[in-house]
């Protein structure tokens, strides 16, 4: 087992495009860390640099304390699971599983023992003589996992291994991967663009955007305390709503002005944003999780009027797209202060089923305990 360390790693392609910018990240020994981000954010490149499939432009990658920048892929003792599985099409499942062991010149008896043990562990015994093309997507995925596990590698690298599976199978294999990783205790760097996968699998999750690390934290913290508006919008489905507000002071206490309402901030919000006291008069972005919005009575204090724009009913919950008088900002805005993009709708997730139609008007209440506040440059208020 080994830790994986990115120490100020950068990657610039020959055409001058910076894919990874000064990445500093540690995957602890035995940890499953998920690297998540939108398409093109550089997450796969980061993984491939660890694997030795891409050269590093600057910085160091260390495996178990040893710098591996110049060590070719075949000598790094890492195992990788590819997005399209990359099973050797001309070899049977058995030969696929044997391949990494043969390359290491293990004795025949040991190869046979290991392959059979892995096949049993992953329920592949009956499929050992089949070719990959005769397997279903889920079975191929398990063979790819098996080929990674069979060698006792120092670490696993997984490049979107579930993205070719249908939704149901994805959930099943996701659980299998998590169980297997815990059982084997192998350091794992897992790349995905799917934040649900990241949140359910990762012991810690690292969010990447345009080659820059945005935040590394356990899933719960990433959800509760996003470091900036990008993370706030990316993590959670749907992502956090961002509204413009202003800090005010009333009787010496900080008060948040949101549209017509003045919200007295609860103790929890104040503790999580210690820098807030010093910002009276300042504009802020207020992050509200869709789950923190509920229906309110017309007469309730601090209720906000809204008009239903669209309704998505998922059975166990209903997602409402709402038009309000509040100024909202898109979480991927590069300069929220100057953003002139059309304001995105406010999204609310209500438990259960509701019979709203587009055009209906309603009153909203907000659970302000879970508010997250950001300055106008998009970073969380410290």
């Amino acid at each position: 087992m080994a830790s994986i360390i990115f120490d100020n790693v950068s990657k610039t392609y020959s055409d001058g495009v910076d894919v990874i910018r000064q990445l500093c990240l540690t995957v602890e020994d035995g940890e499953l860390l998920v690297l998540v981000g939108p398409s093109g954010c550089g997450k796969s490149t980061a993984l491939r640099m660890v694997a030795g499939l891409e050269a590093i432009s600057a910085g160091e990658i260390r495996l178990d304390g040893q710098v591996v920048n110049g060590i070719p892929a075949q000598r790094r003792n890492l195992a990788m699971v590819f997005q399209n599985y990359a099973l050797y099409p001309h070899m049977s499942v058995r030969r696929n599983l044997e391949f990494p062991l043969r390359m290491r010149k293990l004795p025949g008896r040991e190869i046979k023992r290991r392959v059979e043990r892995i096949a049993e562990m992953l329920d592949l015994t009956a499929l050992l003589e089949r070719k990959p093309k005769a397997l279903s997507g889920g079975q191929r995925q398990r063979v790819a996992m098996g080929r990674a596990i069979v060698r006792d590698a120092d670490a696993f690298l997984m490049d979107e291994p579930l993205s070719n599976l249908d939704a149901k199978l994805r959930v099943q294999i996701r659980t299998e991967i998590a169980t297997l990783q815990t059982r084997l205790g192998v350091t794992t760097l897992y790349v995905t663009h799917d934040q649900v996968e990241a949140m359910t699998l990762g012991q810690r999750v690292a969010v990447l955007r345009e080659g820059r690390l945005q935040q590394v934290a356990p899933p719960g913290e990433l959800y509760r305390r996003p470091a900036n508006i990008f993370v706030a919008g990316f993590i959670g489905s749907p992502g956090m709503n961002l509204l413009r507000g202003t800090m005010e002071e009333k009787d010496g206490n900080p008060v948040l002005r949101l549209g017509p309402n003045r919200l007295i901030l609860p103790e929890q919000v104040l503790t999580e944003h210690p820098g807030l006291q010093t910002r009276p008069g300042e504009s802020l972005l207020i992050g509200i999780r869709p789950e923190a919005i509920r229906l309110a009575d017309d007469l309730a204090e601090h209720s906000l009027p809204a008009r239903v724009h669209a309704v998505e009913s998922l059975g166990h919950e209903t997602i409402l797209h709402l038009a309000t008088d509040l100024a909202s900002i898109a979480s991927d805005a590069t300069d929220p202060a100057a953003s002139t993009d059309p304001a995105p709708p406010l999204i609310a997730v209500l438990p259960g089923q509701h019979r709203f139609r587009p055009g209906d008007t309603l009153q909203l209440g907000i659970d302000i305990d879970g508010l997250r506040l950001f300055d106008m440059s998009g970073n969380a208020v410290g």
Binding site: G52, L53, Q74, R75, L78, M80, N84, A86, Y88, H90
Partner: protein, 279 residues
């Protein structure tokens, strides 16, 4: 109305294709049937429909070919020379193409363009300098002179390259991570997944070198290392000029080509199509 037009178009199309096929088949038929006729009748019947009718067929011409020349010797020479060019060509050209398609090295693109440029150079343009080179090396009248210059081949490299560039990189990357080096990857992963292109390159180079005439004529002196195309020419230059014998010789010379082509046709078509689409 529409279906009638369609049927008519189909009929016309198939008729045209059948005619074309017959046109290509005719010389082969004339050769095969002529080879079974007495020498005197071959030329007399050549311009008539009788050219396609094997009246009084006999194998006398075949026996004459073996009596008048050392056919077996020429045949084995051709098999050896062509076989050596094809097999070593498959190895050398596929490895070169793999290096162009997948490995990173300085000057790769420039060199690849130069190799591509070689494709437009006709052999006749380099025949004389090549002849000097072979003479200086003392290789005249040897098998080596007929094999060595043709192992590396720009067109073969191009066909391999077009195929390799279309193979998913993930297989190679997986193998690399599994611990395989470049050569191992080539032989255990790339090669088994490239059968169609190996088959088409093999057939194309077999056809080219089996029928090669000019160069063997230049570098061979005696019959010991001569291949079939040069040997058949001997039947024209030395009297008596017997057309039945020539056609029998030709039939025996063409037969292996047809056998090879029919055996590997499936691979050949797939390989050429794949190269064409991906290239």
């Amino acid at each position: 109305m529409k279906s009638t037009t369609r049927a008519l178009t189909q009929l016309l199309l198939y008729s045209a294709l059948t005619l074309l096929a017959l046109l290509f088949l005719a010389p082969l038929m004339i050769m095969l049937i002529g080879s079974l006729k007495a020498d005197a009748r071959v030329l007399v019947e050549a311009g008539t429909l009788s050219a396609f009718l094997p009246a009084e067929a006999s194998l006398q011409n075949y026996a004459d070919v073996f009596r008048r020349s050392d056919f077996l010797r020429f045949f084995l020479n051709s098999v050896f020379i062509t076989g050596a060019i094809v097999t070593s060509g498959l190895l050398v050209n596929s490895l070169a193409a793999y290096a162009f398609a997948r490995l990173q090295w300085r000057g790769r693109d420039l060199l690849f363009n130069l190799v591509l440029a070689l494709m437009i150079l006709p052999f006749e343009a380099i025949a004389v300098p090549l002849f000097y080179g072979v003479s200086m090396l003392g290789l005249r009248d040897t098998y080596l002179a007929q094999i060595l210059p043709f192992i590396a081949n720009a067109f073969s490299i191009y066909l391999f390259y077009s195929f390799f560039i279309g193979l998913p990189k993930a297989f190679e990357e997986a193998a690399r991570i599994d611990g395989a080096g470049t050569l191992r990857i080539f032989f255990t992963i790339i090669l088994p997944n490239s059968k169609p292109v190996f088959a088409s390159v093999a057939i194309l180079s077999f056809l080219t070198w089996w029928g090669s005439y000019l160069w063997p004529l230049m570098v061979t002196i005696g019959p010991s290392v001569r291949p079939l195309p040069v040997a058949i020419a001997g039947f024209f230059t030395l009297p008596p000029l017997l057309w039945g014998d020539i056609l029998a010789f030709g039939t025996m010379m063409v037969a292996p080509v047809l056998v090879v082509f029919i055996m590997f046709q499936r691979w050949f078509v797939r390989g050429v199509a794949a190269s064409a689409i991906k290239g």
